[in-house]
Amino acid sequence: MTPIGFTLLAFGISYFAGLLGSLVGVGGGIIVVPALTLLMGVSIQKAIAASIVSVIATSSGAAATFVSQRITNMRLGMVLEVATVTGALTGAYLAALVPGRGLFLVFALVLTYTAWSMLRPAGRSISPVPDPLADRLRLHGSFFDRSLGVEVPYRVFRTKLGLAVSYVAGVASGLLGIGGGVFKVPVMNLAMGIPIKACTATSNFMIGVTAATSAAVYFMRGEVLPFVAAPVAVGVLLGARTGASLLGGTRNSTIRAIFVAVLAVSALKMFLEGLK
């Protein structure tokens, strides 16, 4: 392959990953890493480094929109960020210790979990409990729901559980080059009592800072290769923009089925790669 061929192919795959990801509400990293490693021969460490940089671009781009539409709970996001950022540092450090084969296996597990989380029926929310921490930090919020045309107020519960899960999401992000929203959003929605739109927006808001933390570690370590990271960052962002303008969050069952199939095949191949 020539450099121009690699760049165009990496751009095309990343564009597709960003498009598909935004249509089903997942970041592009979960497809970009398998594609770069399995299809294009990039080492998993370099693929993760390129992916985490693209995660900053997509999440910051989307966050700008959500924040200006006032859907994001910025106070909550900034509190939970302490945990995601700490997790990201842990994950980026672990990545240097875990051998490539181990990264393939952990990635296969997270792909499987993501596929499963898209197939399972929506969970039931857990009953609210008083949360003095949320009261003290005034984390409760409200947002204007455009589709309903009303202001939706809500109270936040179980901030400590949210911090714990955010830490885990941060570790996954730093270790694997993904956003980590797939871990945070269900807990924020079902256990913390936050409406799903505010969950998505707030999770997205945190992902930029989380990814920047581990990206900085990867960058200083020399793992972010300009040749690989450039087409991936531009491709994923443009793909995500196209996806957002196409559907705006509509749930399409055919696209979800395609996405789950892509995840399942990637999980299997990454698993086999890890066993080699």
Binding site: A64, T86, A229, L237
Partner: protein, 133 residues
């Protein structure tokens, strides 16, 4: 919620949104321009066999010094322009956090100045740790 809260938040929201938008757009323009320069100018990517393997491998060409970066930018070296874009992209959320510290402290929201300062501290720590790791 009390009115001063909402006013503070509105100001922060506007600033945060602007930082994110400008940061991402500028960095991706730089990354795209750098890629084009790498293809169009001599000294960038070559068509020799094994070039891709070198570029995605541990070719040792990775820029680690500020001197290389500034020198490269002056000579419109494609890789240096891409790296400048990537650095700006990584810095964008950091600037966002720094801006919110300023707005929270202007509104005398002590707990949130502390929370955002911790996040900023961890971000800066990641740069130092990355260097040593």
């Amino acid at each position: 919620m009390t009115p001063p809260d909402n006013r503070a938040l509105a100001g922060t929201e506007k600033a945060v949104s602007r930082v994110l938008r400008v940061g991402v757009t500028t960095s991706l323009v730089l990354v795209t321009a750098g890629t084009l320069l790498s293809f169009l100018r001599s000294g960038g990517y070559s068509d020799q066999p094994g070039e891709v393997a070198r570029l995605i491998g541990n070719g040792g060409t990775f820029p680690r010094t500020a001197g290389w970066l500034f020198g490269g930018l002056l000579h419109l070296n494609g890789a240096a322009v891409i790296v400048a874009g990537l650095i700006l992209l990584i810095a964008t959320p950091v600037i966002r956090v720094a801006v919110s510290i300023v707005t929270f402290s202007r509104e005398r929201d002590r707990p949130f100045v502390v929370v955002t300062a911790i996040v900023l501290g961890l971000l800066l720590l990641s740069l130092v740790l990355g260097k040593s790791g």
